[in-house]
Subunit: 101 residues, 2 copies
């Protein structure tokens, strides 16, 4: 998502500016910032608190949940691909070489 | 990841206690908390700051990056499953029904 050179992108999250250093494009950093900002606003709706750190931590937990869930699903689908490929290869084999053991 | 009843789990993240309300099991909440804590400690290594909120926000951005990357990969793999299934079905069809158009 970048050209290999580190740069600093300024984003606003939950009403405060942050300078983010990284290899990613400013557009991608802005997308991430909007995503985090959105989760924080969601959290603050359901957790009335003036503690911005608590809101950030709960949002981070929420995003971590999404990540671990997606990662688990990815592993399941990758296993499915491997299993299904093997099964269909076996089906093709049995048609193409019906006398093989 | 839960039995349908909301409960409160207390976790420690970056040296501070948080009460997390949700449907998930205490074990899963603890796993998420450990994950967020780890990301915050990583961030603080590379970003010397005493501002815990900044560390939490940068960790949230980092986790959001992991999530969006995993989600994109999941979409790619799911598309691959659909494409590959269709292709292998066509291969089987051409062997089983060689005269079909």
């Amino acid at each position: 998502m970048g050209d290999g050179s580190e740069r600093i992108t300024t984003v606003e999250i939950y009403g405060q500016s942050y300078h983010v250093r990284g290899l990613s494009s400013p557009e991608y950093i802005a997308q991430l910032a909007a995503f985090v900002d959105e989760r924080m606003r969601e959290v603050s709706e359901f957790t009335p608190t003036v503690d911005t750190l608590k809101v950030a931590i709960l949002a981070a937990l929420n995003i971590a949940d999404k990540y671990l869930t997606a990662r688990k699903k990815l592993q399941t689908v990758e296993q499915l691909v491997a299993d299904r490929t093997e099964k269909m290869r076996a089906s093709l084999d049995s048609v193409l070489h019906p006398d093989s053991p």
